[in-house]
């Protein structure tokens, strides 16, 4: 696939060669757990540890091309095991480590499915992984399960020669977002990853003194690629904490960016609103002047969230142009687009006529103050050697300003879903990857509007659940990020209707539920021009969340339908 594009200069043939070329004394990873518990590893220390892991894996029978499953908590040991597996010529895959808030039954189901598909030669688990989960790992006759405490410690060293690989050899498998257990393993070559990193570094104008902050899990592309592979290959320092620690101490993100003068960070959209609501800038003495790009990625980019965060933290030195955006996916290694961060410009925003947008899927710019309109924030322009097309249901390419499915072609595309040729042929057609996301192009900027399968069609109007949910979040009694909208087919009307379920911030808010519901109903009607069939207000923690902490749309829908069977009757 890379043959379609002009070659991009890559200084190293493989990811491991890039690690070996790193300056030995330079800090690579700082793992932060608490004010009195953090540790920094230089590239030299990390490389030696990884090499020792590679030697141990080989002793356990690991051969070139074998897959290795890693089930370990977020940390440098996991990163060293990952790099160690690559040094041994193998193909590692990081699976989510269970946290205190994971549903054990759901986790076991996911683990069984994903591990069966990977058919790994080695399964490396943390010593503290509970036995109940061990039993759910699918092991074949050739598989071997080893505990991390049987591997060399931090100080481990080895003179083992690493197994040489070629650019086209598989480097690792990362899993696409999706329901646990149905996640697809995205197989990526060294060359694909290195080409993506070259484009990304070019777009971000990476400098040797850049420093990355991350709370993102390493089993997702944003954490693995932007916050592990990018600093490993471009020899940058990354300051990291675990997602679980961050959720309990959200202010620690701002504290670490201030303390380490971090320049780059990636976050999903909800982080901006979450921080703005949970953290009081005056309590922390935060200094965000170093931050040149806080990149909003992995969810549709919301102007309200950006403005909310900018309003809350502009007094902390946050540059207005630091809030940037990107459209990325595991199947493309990572980024497809990136907004311009070096021209001192914020991502483009447009206002469009909501009537034309909803009824015809056409974007017609609306003037400020004129009638019903909707705002969108761009996810930026394509990286070099990345192409985006917007296509209709029949596969025909659509012109600028028309909403359709986003399809992508690039020189960093996946080779295929691991052991799933059936899924590969569904998504990869004629060199184009069909993303299942909806969006439109305008003046070369990509605007992502939602997921195709989530779209609600009400009387011919396309309504995005995210737009309905955003209206719910704007009500002060609704917990930010805790609302789910979906379509319910009404056979009498012959169309879908909108159902919204939202959590109130405090149980006591439910006493005013009729007032809150009416206010949300009025806002939805005013902003989207449709009237929801039903709005359900629920107490805190009612919405079902995914392992990534986002509302799980289909699971929440099923929970609501179980509690309210009347919804099944049109």
């Amino acid at each position: 696939m890379s043959d379609r594009f002009p070659p991009v200069p890559i200084p190293f043939p493989t990811l491991t060669e890039a690690l070996f070329a790193a300056p030995q004394q330079k800090p690579f990873v700082t793992m932060w757990i608490d004010d009195d518990e953090e540790r920094t590893f230089t590239f030299g220390e990390f490389t030696r540890w990884s090499n020792a892991q590679a030697a141990a894996f080989k002793e356990h029978g690991l051969c070139k091309g074998d897959t290795v499953i890693l089930i370990m908590p977020q940390g440098v040991a996991l990163m060293a095991a990952f790099a160690g597996a690559m040094l041994a010529g193998a193909v590692p895959a990081i699976l989510a480590y269970p946290t205190f808030k994971v549903d054990p039954a759901k986790y076991r189901f996911g683990l069984a499915g994903v591990s069966a598909n990977l058919n790994a030669r080695l399964v490396v688990v943390d010593a503290s992984l509970p036995a109940e989960f061990l039993q759910s790992i699918s092991l074949s006759e050739r598989s071997k399960l080893i505990r991390v405490d049987s591997l060399p410690p931090v100080s481990g060293n080895s003179d083992v020669t690493h197994t040489s690989c070629k650019s086209e050899d598989l480097a690792f498998i990362q899993h696409s977002a999706g329901t646990t257990g149905l996640q697809k393993g995205v197989a990526l070559s060294h060359g694909a990853v290195l080409r993506q990193l070259a484009h990304l570094a070019n777009a971000l104008e990476i400098r040797a003194n850049d420093r990355i902050y991350s709370w993102l899990p390493l089993y997702h592309d944003m954490g693995l690629i932007a916050c592990f592979m990018l600093p490993m290959v471009h020899h940058l320092h990354v300051v990291m904490q675990s997602p679980a620690d961050w959720v309990l101490q959200p202010e620690s993100m701002l504290h670490l960016i201030s303390m380490y003068k971090c320049t780059l960070s990636w976050i999903p959209n909800f982080t901006l609103s979450f921080l703005a609501r949970r953290v009081k800038p005056e309590n922390g003495n935060y200094d965000l002047t170093s931050l040149r790009a806080l990149i909003n990625c992995s969810e549709p980019v919301r102007a309200e969230s950006i403005d909310c965060f900018a309003g809350a933290f502009s007094s902390c030195g946050l540059q207005p142009t630091a809030l940037q955006s990107s459209y990325a996916m595991a199947e493309n290694v990572f980024a497809v687009t990136q907004s311009g961060i070096n021209g001192s410009v914020a991502p483009c925003r447009i206002w469009v006529d909501s009537g034309k947008y909803q009824s015809d899927g056409i974007v017609v710019p609306a003037k400020k103050g004129s009638g019903e309109r909707m705002g969108f924030v761009s996810s930026g322009q394509c990286l070099p050697n990345n192409e985006v097309r917007i296509v209709a249901e029949d596969g025909e390419a659509l012109p600028d300003g028309h909403v359709g499915e986003i399809v992508i072609r690039s020189d960093s595309m996946l080779d295929g879903y691991y052991n799933r040729p059936d899924l590969t042929s569904l998504s990869l057609r004629d060199g184009w990857y069909w993303s299942g996301d909806l969006g439109f192009l305008l003046n070369q900027e990509l605007y992502v509007t939602g997921r195709k399968k989530d779209l609600i069609i009400v009387g011919g109007k396309n309504i995005y659940p995210q737009d309905v949910e955003e209206i719910a979040f704007s009500h002060p009694a609704i917990h930010d990020g805790r609302a789910v909208a979906f379509g319910c087919y009404n056979a009498n009307l012959g169309t879908e209707e909108i159902v919204l379920v939202a959590e109130v911030g405090e149980s006591s808010n439910l006493e005013d539920s009729s007032v809150i519901e009416r206010a949300i109903r009025v806002s939805i009607a005013a902003e989207l021009g449709v009237v929801p069939r039903a709005i359900y207000l629920k107490p805190p923690r009612w919405i079902v969340k995914s392992t990534a902490g986002k509302p799980a749309r289909s699971a929440t829908r099923e929970k609501l339908l179980a509690e309210h069977p009347e919804l099944r009757i049109s």
């Binding site: 757990i33 608490d34 004010d35 009195d36 518990e37 908590p73 977020q74 269970p98 946290t99 205190f100 808030k101 994971v102 549903d103 054990p104 986790y107 503290s128 509970p130 109940e132 675990s242 679980a244 620690d245 959720v247 309990l248 149980s507 107490p539 805190p540 923690r541 079902v544 969340k545």
Partner: protein, 84 residues
């Protein structure tokens, strides 16, 4: 039963379970029995930090560590650190 256990039980009943006819003891299974959703545990863990006056590194806590109030308090003592 310690004051900490009583305070936690009171919080879980009033703020998480919110069903008047449900009573729990220090050793009542909570998540594995379906009484509380695992996602509620972020709030329970925050309360546990408050009750014990300890800082608990969430990354070191497993689902099984949070299944009963007794286990929560034991976990807090095992992995918790004094607040500064």
């Amino acid at each position: 039963m310690t004051d900490s256990a009583k305070e936690l039980i009171d919080y879980i009943c009033k703020e998480i379970i919110r069903r008047p006819n449900v009573q729990i003891e220090a050793d009542t299974p909570l998540v594995s029995s379906g009484l509380i959703d695992s996602f509620s545990l972020v709030d329970v863990l925050t309360k546990l930090e408050e009750v014990t006056a300890l800082r608990i590194p969430a990354g070191k806590v497993q689902p099984k560590d949070m299944d009963t109030v007794s286990l929560m308090l034991t976990t807090a003592q095992r992995v918790g650190k004094p607040r500064r």
